[in-house]
């Protein structure tokens, strides 16, 4: 069953909490937390987040549609942006059931 946007956002925050447990973040994670400016994400961290989210949702989404906007890479995005994108593109899967190699 498709999770709603609130559930998706909760999942993202849970993944981020686990990922950043030893990062010494100064502020609490919220839907408004931005991945780059607030969390100091690198491109490798972003890939790990998206991979973990794929596994949690049991599907592989086309995140490049989110990361490239009007021909340019987005400079940053917040948790709520990601949750909104997943909610809107939940059915646009590349692969319905990602599995670890």
């Amino acid at each position: 069953m498709k999770p709603d946007q609130t559930q998706i956002q909760k999942s993202i925050l849970e993944i981020l909490t686990e990922m950043t447990s030893d990062w010494d973040l100064e502020e609490a994670l919220t839907p408004a937390s931005t991945l780059s400016a607030d969390l100091g994400f690198s491109s490798v961290d972003l890939l790990e987040l998206l991979a973990a989210l794929d596994m949690r949702l049991g599907r592989k989404l086309r995140y490049e549609l989110l990361l490239v906007h009007e021909g340019q890479f987005r400079s940053d995005l917040c948790v709520a942006d990601l949750a909104r994108f997943v909610n809107e593109h939940y059915e646009d899967v590349i692969s319905p059931s990602p599995v670890a190699m």
Partner: protein, 328 residues
């Protein structure tokens, strides 16, 4: 001395090709060398003196952990004294992370062009990047130098090796009718470039195109007015050329700059490609007989077809040998 060279594969084999050039130079100096890469790397010939350690083809993001384990195992098995990593310090998708954290050897970072990134907050990434004590720029100071815009993220030891590129194969120049050779790197985005040249040059010059393995213009193969090569290195496809029109990837652009031919560069300019090709093309266009175009321009083609002259390059082109000597 055991040296391991790592290069990622993205659209083409440019990064791997550059790593191989340094590895071969080091092998000639007596080092035992291996190249660790994935994809269609076995297409690169010759590889004399360099052992190929082939990784399975690029994996999905769900399998990053497994990829990291593969890379780490390969590094541990080879047990190098030094590891030279091309372009991205952590690899394309962070696949070097485990090897950097726990693998053997001294890691060195080779930069063909800038790869700026903000400071990492993730302590594992910070620890991995701290393994690098040395960075080599595959340029000269003052020529497309990646160091100034990456100051905060560079390790303390820094060295400029010079440009790494092969010399173009010698060949006569055909002027009647002229022959235009068009290169689009691995081929992505080539349809627009080739289409413009086909219509612009009809009745004026012959056209040879190198489609590349990722070509988006396969219909050209059936066009009898065009000589079509499926694949080919820049240095080998220039036989008889009067003019070259090409993307501005590192290896291709510098190999063409070493030739005596007029060169029109049309840099790939997409969010994925970034601005490195554009910056390189603009720099090279300050040299005689090289132009940089952002889009089709028939007048520049005519001007370039009529050019003859000499170029004195303002940078060293023995970067592979210099990098190898630095490693040893």
């Amino acid at each position: 001395m055991r040296l391991l060279f790592y290069a990622h594969v993205l659209l083409g084999l440019g990064h791997v090709s550059r790593a191989l050039a340094i590895a071969q130079a080091a092998a000639r100096l007596g080092a035992r060398c291996a190249l660790l890469a994935s994809g269609t790397v076995e297409r690169l010939q010759p590889r004399e003196g360099v052992e190929l350690l082939k990784l399975p083809s690029r994996v999905d993001r769900q399998n990053l952990a497994a990829r990291r384990a593969q890379v780490r195992a390969a590094v541990e098995d080879w047990n190098p004294d030094k590891v030279l990593v091309d372009h991205l310090a952590l690899g394309l998708e962070g696949e070097l992370l485990e090897a950097l954290l726990e693998g053997p050897g001294e890691f060195l970072w080779g930069l063909p062009y800038a790869a700026p990134a903000g400071p990492a907050r993730n302590p594992r990434i910070r620890a991995a990047l701290a393994r690098y004590r040395t960075v080599l720029a595959y340029t000269d100071p003052g020529w497309c130098d990646p160091f100034p815009c990456m100051e905060a993220q560079l390790p303390p030891e820094r060295y400029h090796a010079g440009i790494i590129c092969r010399a173009p194969e010698p060949g006569g120049r055909a002027d009647s009718p002229p022959l235009v050779v068009a290169l689009a790197g691995a081929g992505a985005g080539g349809a627009e470039l080739f289409g413009w040249l086909r219509s612009s040059l009809r009745g004026k010059a012959r056209l040879r195109v190198v489609l590349g393995p990722l070509s988006d213009a396969p219909e050209l193969a059936s066009d009898e007015q065009i000589e079509v090569l499926r694949e080919g290195a820049a240095e080998a496809s220039l036989q008889g050329a009067s003019l070259v029109v090409a993307r501005a990837g590192y290896n291709t652009a510098y190999t063409l700059a070493r030739s005596s031919l007029p060169v029109v560069l049309m840099p790939l300019d997409t969010p994925q490609s970034g601005v490195e090709q554009l910056e390189r093309a603009r720099a090279l266009a300050t040299l005689p007989g090289i132009w940089c175009l952002r889009g089709p321009d028939d007048a520049v083609l005519d001007q370039a077809l009529g050019w003859s002259g000499e170029r004195v390059l303002p940078f060293r082109v023995d970067g592979a040998e210099r990098a190898a000597r630095y490693l040893l």
